[in-house]
Symmetry: D2
Subunit: 401 residues, 4 copies
């Protein structure tokens, strides 16, 4: 049916939802690590798009290393100030000279970073609260990709590596991911005091879920300690409501538990991110490609953000395996939990992994044989469409952290 090496097997562990202890974490978009992920990925998109526009193909680049050095700030009720700027260094390589053209790779990277920051963390005044610098080495200059506009062929894997994806999210995972998204979405639109640096940890023991939120508050919108208390309580109540939508288990929500009101030690910031004071960050140290850190599940150490989306296995296979897992859950009845692993071999076409290894927890009463063919077909189909995924990454349709 397919010449791809696809294996579908029963998963020997229980579904994560059924395990006794579960830990889930998400670093919000304003967390220092996420800032780095976001900038690296937008730089990557901007470079890929520019290459397509100018030379009709994506040239060699890799920008999966961004380092953020925290600043120093003096927050104060009603509005404090950043004292020393955050320093952010975009690192990587990109092809600057190709076929007589010069591609302004560093200028593109800086612009992408600036635009990304302006959109996601407008509280950070560019060039004042944050200094963005760039060191992009020259790419190899080889034509690394035939991913052109007209002529799409499948590139070769650049490395022996692998990706891993899961579906569906467990209840705890849903709560953690959804709470951060909505806090950083509709909630903050109505609550300007909430910063973007929202870090959420969910811990479930049996049927009891503890959700711990660290939420940076923005001093300009907090006039005094009472207002701060209110802001904290508002977040708590909101997250509790979100949680209730996703589970019937008992949920306790804790917000800014390290606060010490008597000592006046609270999580107050000028810009809504802890990067302003003491928290450094870098790419690939936070959320995995599905937006979560899930020690109950297999994870890849590869940074997904910032990598070249054409042939970098560390990026493509993490995104693709997640997509395969989600498609399987959506399309195949009887699948309760599954893990997809894709292992590349350097020099082979990326649509033909060395092995595609799927482990499935089926619903009670459903055998692995009952779903195997359907699952295999989906894996085969998605692998065949791998270049579509590249295109969607370049267009920013997929999140990487």
């Amino acid at each position: 049916m397919t010449d791809r090496n696809i294996r579908v097997e029963p998963f020997e562990r229980r579904a994560v939802n059924d395990q006794e202890i579960e830990i889930v974490e998400r670093k919000g978009i304003g967390h220092p690590d996420s800032i780095c992920d976001g900038i690296a990925e937008h730089v990557s998109q901007a470079l890929a798009q520019t290459y397509l526009d100018r030379v009709g193909t994506v040239l060699h680049f890799n920008t999966d290393e961004t380092q953020l050095v925290a600043g120093e700030a003096a927050p104060a009720f009603g509005g404090g100030e950043v004292v020393d700027p955050i320093y952010l260094l975009i690192v990587g390589r990109a092809t600057k000279h190709y076929d007589g053209q010069t591609i302004p790779t560093e200028a593109i990277a800086l612009r992408a970073a600036r635009e990304y920051l302006a959109e996601t963390i407008p509280e950070l005044t560019f060039g004042e609260d944050i200094v963005v610098d760039v060191k992009l080495g020259e790419g190899s200059g080889d034509l690394q990709s035939v991913f052109g506009e007209d002529d799409v062929s499948v590139p070769m894997a650049n490395d022996t590596s692998y990706g891993v994806g899961h579906a569906p999210l467990s209840e705890t995972e849903e709560i953690v991911r959804e709470a951060e998204r909505r806090l950083n979405g509709p909630y903050s639109a109505d609550h300007p005091e909430l910063g973007t640096d929202v870090k959420i940890m969910g811990k479930r023991e049996g049927d009891e879920i503890d959700v711990t939120v660290a939420a940076a508050m923005i001093d300009e919108h907090i006039q005094d300690m009472d207002a701060y208390r209110d802001a904290v309580e508002d977040v708590r109540a909101f997250v509790a409501d979100v949680a209730a939508e996703h589970t019937d288990r008992t949920v306790r929500v804790h917000v800014n538990t390290a606060d010490d009101y008597d000592a006046g030690s609270i999580y107050l910031t000028v810009t809504g991110t802890s990067a302003e004071q003491g928290d450094d960050g870098s790419v690939g140290r936070g959320n995995r490609a599905n937006g979560l850190i899930t020690p109950n599940r297999s994870m890849s150490m590869e940074a997904t953000s910032g990598k070249n989306p054409v042939n970098h296995i560390g990026k493509i296979y993490n995104l693709l395996s997640t997509q395969i897992a989600q498609a399987t859950v959506a399309e195949v009845d009887g699948v309760r939990d599954l893990r997809v692993r894709l292992l590349s071999q350097i020099g082979r076409p990326i649509d033909h992994p060395h092995v595609a290894d799927v482990h499935v927890v089926t619903e009670d009463g459903v055998s692995i044989e009952a779903v195997e063919d359907e699952v295999t077909a989906i894996v085969d189909r998605e692998l065949g469409a791998v270049t579509d995924l590249t295109r969607r990454v370049i267009e920013g349709e997929l999140t990487t952290f």
Copy 2:
């Protein structure tokens, strides 16, 4: 017996050695990510030791962010040269002013980096092949620790986080770890042509193990293509021998598979590390605390290297859980594979984790009940001795990557 919250449960998965597919990776000490890990950890040790020497207690610091920006090199048979230096930025915070004393934190960091590089990668001429810079913010100045010489009390967890450890290593893991250690140890002592940037990936499908080695060769000691071929073959044979010591399974060893002799494209370097040309690196992107990347096992995303070893859960619990797992395997009969997870709660003493969660695969015929008490006692004992672990980290006795 203990007031610690210790749970011992059967592991629902098989031992990793018994699983069908296994993937293991180790980045050698000269890999760009490992260079960063090593420097971050040595900076951490140097700071901790200086604090102990000068103020009798370890003050607040965290240096778990080092960024390496690759250089540019022109290797050539018989000896080429570095063209643009590697740039390495040590990032973090450290307490510079305490009780009327000034601690020269940046000078300490630079010295630690220089000494570490001189010892591990002597081929890199400091200040010429590599520029090391430093940006250490001021630590909080709070007395973060009472980990003094005379008066040892147990610090509080600095975060809600967790660590995870395993034992024993699977055969594939043993092979990967041991091969790198011996290549970078006795082998390279006899074979100066082998660089420190040795990356090994092990893949096992059933009883067939493929070990893929990417080994940077040093041009000064390689006179021509024949010598290069010999050098590659020597590595292959050596790794095959190492593997044979650890398994009866079929092992195939592949070295520098991306080479293209006809095109003259081989893995030749000036300094023995790919950091000289195009490969960036940073802390926490490579090996986990046990020296391996093991997607078949639970992993923590926390960088272990560079963190303050007194109260930083992301460091202590990863090291401690590994140590507990190893001790258990060594001391308790009937344990075939186990995983230890330690989950902290911010503000609680670190020797009292929120939960210590141990999953055990027992030998055939051995029940979980048969080992539970022994395992619990070991966990209890090791938690009670957590400050010893801190001391050993400061003294450099434990590896973190």
Copy 3:
């Protein structure tokens, strides 16, 4: 009459206007050295003003070192682009902690730089065409000045140094200075193709003046080679007209003499400054405090821009001696040319220089004795009002380059 050590003597040389050979240079505001001067001075003003606003006195600071590293650009008729950004590093020291307050010195410096660039060279997209970074060490923390709002006393000289000033400008000097000012003023308002990096050298041999202009043209407003030729000719004609207003001598104007039309090598830029491609810059390497480089006259090597205007002799005495010279020429009949030198002694009040040494070329028939008392009185008066000068510097009323 005065207890100040003021000496008025005849000048043994002729007035510069009467010398046989004269050389004069001015680097326009967009020249890389001038960019650094301008930013350093605006940073200085912003810091001084902030200190006055927040603590009522100017604290210790010195920001007279800014380094610009040129970028790389690809200009093209109709509009090219910057490829690699200009890198600009603001260097100095400033008091960040004072009396329980934290002054955000680095953020102030960055904002001042950004605002200055936006105003003077709007073609440079901040954070994209130019990256501005800052390294400000901590100032001494001593109360360096009693130059407060309410309580003005005269500070002590911080160094044994000197300043030198002249008046009036010679014809050649007038032409060079005025041509640049008007090119960068009304002319460029009507001629958007003219960049701010206008460098003018005037050379006079007897009654023949050669004015050589290097004028960066902005590619967006130059569609082709003909337009470029026209732009060059427009500048030439304009400068010739300016020159004719200031002299009856023969003037030849040369613009962009290094152009080679046949080779297509012309002075075309994206942003109007050579900093975009290959020309580095730093503070104090260009114009002296009177806006000119005048090898026919005594000059001080001290950088005036960026220094603390309260007690830094290298700044105050250069500005003050120039002001004294100008006042003398304006107020005293019979003075044809004069030079004022002020020599400080460390630790003495700055209104009492070690020696104020004035050399005067009088008009024919006027003796030095005839003007000595008037000149002495002016020197005495201006020294007595030295703190006014500081205030005017802080308010940006005086140019320093």
Copy 4:
């Protein structure tokens, strides 16, 4: 006799030795500005020599911008320590790619800086007390010079600029220059407590000379305040002796006048240079090409150090005019003081300046006509040998600061 445009004229001013007031300054080799000059010049020599060795000709480069950002130090009697390192950035452009070869320009620059520092300021531990970084843009790639080994032709001037030189030194100038040289030479060999950062200002009023020395003392060799006092007195006595060798005028020597023994405020350093604490530096801000700052004489603002010695007028003409002046004084009787100015025209051969303009103060009773021919012949001869000067610069035989 010559087709060069050489003018010899009487100097309308008196010899500097005869003027009433004279100011002279020299920044010693360890002064932050001199450190930058020295490194820039050694980088320049190393690049030029490498180009000659590898491609047989000096390619385009210019490294006349080095920025030093001061560190922070904690000196203490008997030995203190550097707390924050000095940061030094080498800036410029150099041709990296030529005729298929890659020249490791940045590595060359870093090595030259390291070697220079090791030799001149061994107290600075490289990579610990000082971080040296480099940003060298790509040179134009044009063959900028035909200054090859075999085929020497005269290059064209790269700019319309000028140089100026004088001879002989006045007594005050001799004292200032000689005192620094001997303090930093034989004296410091016997007095390890004296740092290299010795700044000397000479002021002469009539027949009274004040020599003010600021001498950084090295704490390791100073055990207490008494030892410090002795060290200061030793310097004073030594400089007084040096001065007595060069003048019969009255000389007063002042050393470290800003010291306040009661307040414990003395000029004590760890490394012998104020760069360790608070004093930034850059190229071209200190000594002129003859090693002095002489406001009584014409000076060029051009930085001599670091520039390409083949065709950069700002370097060649300053060195050459000084050499011409010295040769004239040595060879021609009756010359008491002279100034040589060389004005280039862009695009003309550098041995044919636009004008060579010599002003001579003759001895009493000697007419300008009596020396004119001899002077002209020397100017002609030295201009004709300009490429020898380039060679001597590359070989490090000439000092530039």
